[in-house]
């Protein structure tokens, strides 16, 4: 049998994606409503952000546009998780009911096959919104647009998104061990709300927790500093790409370990 490499998986992914989009668009009302829902969610998020900043002109030495930059950064780095790992939300239900077993009989990577089933299109709107915010903040901050800066932002965004993915994977994988694991995943996902603030506003304990235990500081703060404060980059910022890869790898291993322990319910 031929080895199934990255090319193979990408091709399969895009084929499933294309089919999925096609079938989603055939449910027009559903498509339109969810698109509107997504737009309003983002506007609401932005409005509450504005209101808060109406009251505090700066947070811990970060001005409005810098915080806006972090906000945009976190929106983008959350997007891949939202779009591509959305099926993690139904993992608990599938494991509980025994339906998960049906994913175990294909000759391809189980994690890939499971997650490829669903692509959440709504996330793409968030991506556009995030990019808009980031570009706007970038311009207002008057930072230079050099090819190096663009490359840096892209690389750091990609690795930051792995951290979010890792968090969600690990939260979802908990269902292989804990029966009522919804709260774990929900909690893991809610932590992302703290990712858009500079970690320095939190107390020492939380700073430690958000850096080393539930590493949400790697979703936006540390990686964004590389372009935001290039003259004073902490070590952890430089380490954020490998950290993203390591966290993701560990969460993937945890997920697969859980899946291999899984034995289904009787049928």
């Amino acid at each position: 049998m031929k080895r199934k490499g990255l090319g193979f998986y990408l091709r399969i992914y895009f084929k499933i994606l294309a089919q999925d989009l096609k079938s989603k668009m055939s449910y027009r009302a559903d498509f339109i409503i969810s698109t509107f829902g997504m737009i309003f969610t983002n506007i609401a998020g932005f409005v509450s952000f504005r209101i808060m900043f109406g009251n505090f002109p700066s947070i811990n030495g970060y001005n409005y546009y810098e915080i806006l930059f972090l906000y945009g950064f976190s929106l983008i780095s959350i997007t891949p998780t939202q779009c591509m790992l959305d099926n993690n939300w139904s993992l608990r239900q599938q494991v509980y009911s025994g339906d998960f077993i049906k994913y175990c009989f294909r000759p391809i990577n189980l994690f890939f096959y499971y997650e490829s089933e669903i692509f959440d299109v709504k996330g793409l709107g968030q991506l556009a919104f995030g990019i808009g915010t980031l570009v706007y903040a970038w311009a207002k901050l008057g930072m230079a647009v050099t090819p190096l800066a663009v490359v840096k932002v892209t690389v750091y965004l990609m690795t930051a998104s792995l951290v979010m993915a890792a968090l969600q994977n690990a939260g979802a994988a908990s269902c292989f061990w804990i029966e009522n694991s919804f709260y774990v995943l929900d909690l893991a996902f809610r932590f992302k709300d703290y990712a858009k603030y500079p970690i320095t506003i939190f107390s020492t304990v939380f700073r430690f927790v958000f850096t080393y235990i539930i590493p949400i500081a790697f979703i936006a703060y540390y990686p964004a500093l590389v372009v935001l404060r290039p003259e004073d980059v902490p070590l952890l910022s430089w380490l954020s790409p490998p950290a993203g890869c390591v966290f993701f790898f560990l969460s993937y291993k945890l997920w697969m370990l859980g899946a291999s322990k899984y034995n289904g319910t009787g049928s």
Partner: protein, 333 residues
């Protein structure tokens, strides 16, 4: 012929927590948990040849699904050896998956929102099915079932029967060596059942695919299986061809009689006249179970004719269902 599946003394144990009763018990459970082991599969061995259709039977909870999960590589046996198509399934789950097809009666593995044809195309890519083989399979399907109306229908809009049919077609698409069918006809109407049985039989014949079939429907067994394996409480009760099983119980026939007079009294008299046979009675019939090795039904009948006024009679062969029921209840011995 060579063996496609070889199973040697496999056992699967599960550790099940003993849950204590009540709220107090639940709190105690939080701190100290006791476990006991349950043997879902207990020392089972069998060999299955390429091209066989094996009916894998047993009451609910007998260990059928567990055995199938071990053969498909989802579960690792606690002890014993298992090879499927020359490799150990749980160690090579993805490689094993290339050579098997699986259908679970009520859990469709197809993409829920996609029309069947799109699911087929995705499977073609996933299993890397060559174009020629794919086309050949599709034209074979076309000749066996009326596939055209199914192809462009999203799976979620299909009836249960159409979905099962589609799942079976999908399982055979990559021309696997073995197909596992777990209760494929559950919940289907009579004509759909017949259609699915014919389809399975045809695919097995044309492609020489080994089929492992679990079912509670004796119709499936009678229509498809030459060999049956019966397990209960994880232990193997029977493994032989179905003819042998019928022969074993085939010596027994049930003679049903309707006689003039009070049925209860007449039944009593018949029981006294025929000490070798067991006699039962219900509202309409007196049933006499005759072992033909000891006494021919014809002689029993002529004996009874002299002493009773027989108005109607029926002769019943023992059905596979009856046979299996007896095995579940009492074993072959």
């Amino acid at each position: 012929m060579e063996n496609i599946i070889e199973i040697k003394n496999i056992t699967k144990e599960f550790r099940v927590p003993d849950r204590r009763e009540g709220l107090k018990g639940s709190i105690k459970d939080l701190f100290s948990r006791r476990y006991h082991t349950v043997k879902a599969v207990d020392d089972i061995s069998m060999e299955i040849k390429q091209g066989e259709i094996v009916g894998y039977l047993g009451p609910n909870g007998a260990g059928k699904s567990t055995t199938i999960k071990m053969m498909t590589g989802v579960l690792e046996p606690s002890s014993g050896e298992i090879t499927v198509n020359g490799c150990v399934p749980y160690k090579n789950r993805t490689r094993n998956a290339q050579n098997i097809g699986v259908v679970f009666g009520q859990r469709s593995q197809l993409w829920w929102a996609l029309p069947l044809i799109e699911s087929f195309k995705l499977l073609k890519d996933i299993y890397m099915i060559p174009d020629e083989q794919y086309d050949e399979m599709m034209s074979l399907y076309g000749s066996l079932v009326d596939i055209e109306p199914l192809l462009h229908k999203p799976v979620r809009q299909m009836s249960l029967g159409q979905r099962t049919l589609s799942d079976i077609l999908a399982a055979f698409l990559h021309d696997p060596k073995i197909v596992f069918l777990d209760e494929p006809t559950i919940g289907l109407d009579v004509s759909m059942k017949a259609k699915i049985r014919t389809l399975i039989a045809e695919l097995n014949r044309r492609k020489n695919t080994t089929v492992i079939l679990t079912t509670h429907d004796m119709g499936d067994v009678d229509a498809l299986c030459e060999r049956i394996v019966i397990i209960d409480h994880g232990k193997m009760l029977y493994d032989n061809d179905i003819e042998h099983l019928k022969k074993f119980f085939g010596a027994y026939r049930t003679l049903k009689l309707r006689v003039r007079g009070d049925m209860e009294q007449e039944a009593q008299r018949i029981a006294e006249e025929l000490p070798m046979c067991s006699v039962k009675t219900d509202d309409n019939w007196i049933s006499v179970l005759v072992n033909e090795d000891e006494q021919k039904v014809v002689s029993v009948l002529s004996q009874l004719q002299n002493s009773h006024d027989i108005r109607d009679m029926q002769l019943e062969e023992i059905s596979s269902e009856e046979v299996i029921k007896r095995i579940y209840e009492g074993g072959v011995e």
